[in-house]
Amino acid sequence: MSAQSESRFVSAVKDSVAGGLIALALFSLMLGMKAEVASGMGGQLGIEYRWGAVAIAVAIVFFGRLLLNLFVWKSDKPVTGIMSGMMPKASSFSGLGKFAMPVFLVLAVVLPFLLMSYYGASGSRRYLDLAILVTTYVMLGWGLNIVVGLAGLLDLGYVAFYAVGAYSYALLAHYFGLSFWICLPLAGILAALWGIMLGFPVLRLRGDYLAIVTLAFGEIIRVVLLNWYDFTGGPDGISGIPRPSFFGLEFERGDDGFAAFFGLDYSSIHRIIFLYYLILAMALVTNFVTMRLRKLPVGRAWEALREDEIACRSLGINTTNTKLTAFALGAMFGGFAGSFFATRQGFISPESFTFMESAVILAIVVLGGLGSQIGVVIAAVVMIGGFELIREFAEYRMLVFGLLMVGIMVWKPRGLISTRTPSISLSGKAKGISADLVQEGHG
């Protein structure tokens, strides 16, 4: 036994030394030498040597690999096994789902008051802003969930519809002076139209090919917004976008403002709270519509389309219309969220609609579990909320993001909530079918 563990130790060390040597070869060029404009040599290019950094990198690789060898790869009881044991089983969520939904909802509704009583009006602003941001992403995630989670159409350019919504409101307000409440439906309709326009050419595409085209579409919208200077203001963006009113009451100091009308002392926090409830309501509408549609023929057709397109056609489902409605609906909610974004920021520019946004929204949907509404909420809270809380380490954002992705994909490859509740059940109780028990079985 001891001889065996000794040889195991030796092989682990050998493997780690090999890893360390490879790291040395790689990092001595990548980290060890840095081209610098040397100040002493009249602006000539020189090389700065950084062997300390190389040593640190090699040490990390060596010891990291040694630890992994000893405790994971060559160990009888891998640490990762314990970790995956700690990850929640999908089955434990089926009970939780019923219980968690109302709790989340109540928490979301009373959140501003909790924050106000805890941090006071000025202290809670930061957290309310964060809550608005998170809720916006929840809404975007729910919108994208229709396209990716239900209909199974991988869309990497979702941010385009967010941008269309935002610019629709901004431009309509800018050129025609229309108010938020008139523009909101218009923005949704415009985004839905763009969704259909994207949908038509990609009807025959699936998977990777669809992803590439939607990615390009997202970039086209952004580049057009960036370069059509006369109309969109290009990189300068559009500023002075009007704020939404509360049934005609502006959130302003003065006699006809919101505060005066309700006999409150004026405070700037009122508008923030109003914005929070606005996005919360919009997100809940998105959720409600999606949940309803899932139980209707069109929603089931989306899911069937995700499962097997040929089978759908053999059952007489019009796959063209099914795909287009999914694109249009997903885009419409993206457009709503976009016009909310515009009115909240008061200023938009193409920089807010980069591919990174699409990636984050998609990551929320995938990490939460494709097709799971509550999963999207959890993923959005963790990802957006979590990142904002560690803002001081913004440089490491992508690092944490990547690690989180890898971790989830290793331990919960189908997302946090991989249970799917059937859309119909005659016995009355719809029981979730755990994905722990079933992988992609075909017999």
């Binding site: 089931r300 499962e307 097997d308 056609r313 053999s314 007489g316 489902i317 796959t319 059937p422 079985g441």
Partner: protein, 243 residues
């Protein structure tokens, strides 16, 4: 069995995949109340004919009539709403949806109003599906998946059922069970069945009439018994297959 006009009438149909010809002028009829089978080797064009009937791919020449109506140029989803149902090759059930949802999908688009009744019939035909109605389709065994595929097709209350290789990859006992169910459907409900099969022995025993396809052409036709008795059919399709 001689109805005035056949329920399905395929007339001189040619189908191309790009420049490659797959069907070279196929003539075939299925009368109301019949079970007709099409047998042939791999790559003979059996599934292509099945898919051409469904309009994907569409025939490049010739025409297909269903119940007297020309359906050659109709889009697939409209053909499939004309009381024709298909159980596709490879079963193609929806793996992550429950058995019940799979069945509902079959009824919903066809506008079937008596879903409850159709469900009951499906469960009577394949009681195993009732036991598993809340299970995911993907967790069923191969035979159960085939039962589900057929039951799903039947949920639209079709007059004509198209079956593409229902015995594919199944144990002989299950094949027998499924073929018995098809015979029952035909006898009790008068369902017309067009069956594409490689399992020639079982298919010809079941069918009233059969066609043999070689290289995109129908080379023989006759009643199931006639074809079964022919030496050339035996040699080509039944060697060692007569279990």
């Amino acid at each position: 069995m001689s109805a005035s006009q056949p329920l399905l009438d395929v007339r001189n149909v040619e189908t191309h995949y790009g420049k490659i010809i797959a069907l070279r002028g196929v003539d075939l009829t299925v009368n109301e109340g019949e079970i007709v089978t099409l047998i042939g080797a791999n790559g003979a064009g059996k599934s292509t004919l099945m898919m051409t009937i469904c309009g994907s791919p569409q025939a490049s020449s010739g025409s297909i009539f269903y119940d007297g109506e020309d359906i050659t140029r109709l889009p697939t989803h409209l053909i499939m709403r004309k009381s024709i149902a298909q159980s596709p090759e490879g079963r193609r059930i929806f793996p992550r949806m429950s058995v019940l949802e799979n069945l509902i999908m079959g009824a919903e688009t066809a506008g079937n109003k008596d879903v409850e009744e159709s469900l009951k019939k499906a469960y009577d035909l394949f009681p195993r599906l009732k036991e598993r109605r809340n299970q995911r389709g993907g967790t069923l065994s191969g035979g159960e998946q085939q039962m589900l595929a057929i039951a799903r097709a039947l949920m639209s209350k079709p007059r004509l059922l198209l079956l593409d290789e229902p015995s594919l990859g199944l144990a002989p006992l299950i094949v027998k069970q499924i073929f018995d169910a098809i015979r029952d459907l035909n006898r009790t409900d008068g369902l017309t069945v067009f069956l594409v099969e490689q399992n020639a022995y079982h298919a010809l025993k079941l069918a009233h009439r059969g066609y043999v396809m070689v290289n995109g052409k129908i080379t023989m036709s006759g009643t199931g018994k006639e074809l079964l008795a022919r030496d050339d059919v035996k040699a080509a399709y039944l060697e060692g297959g007569g279990h």
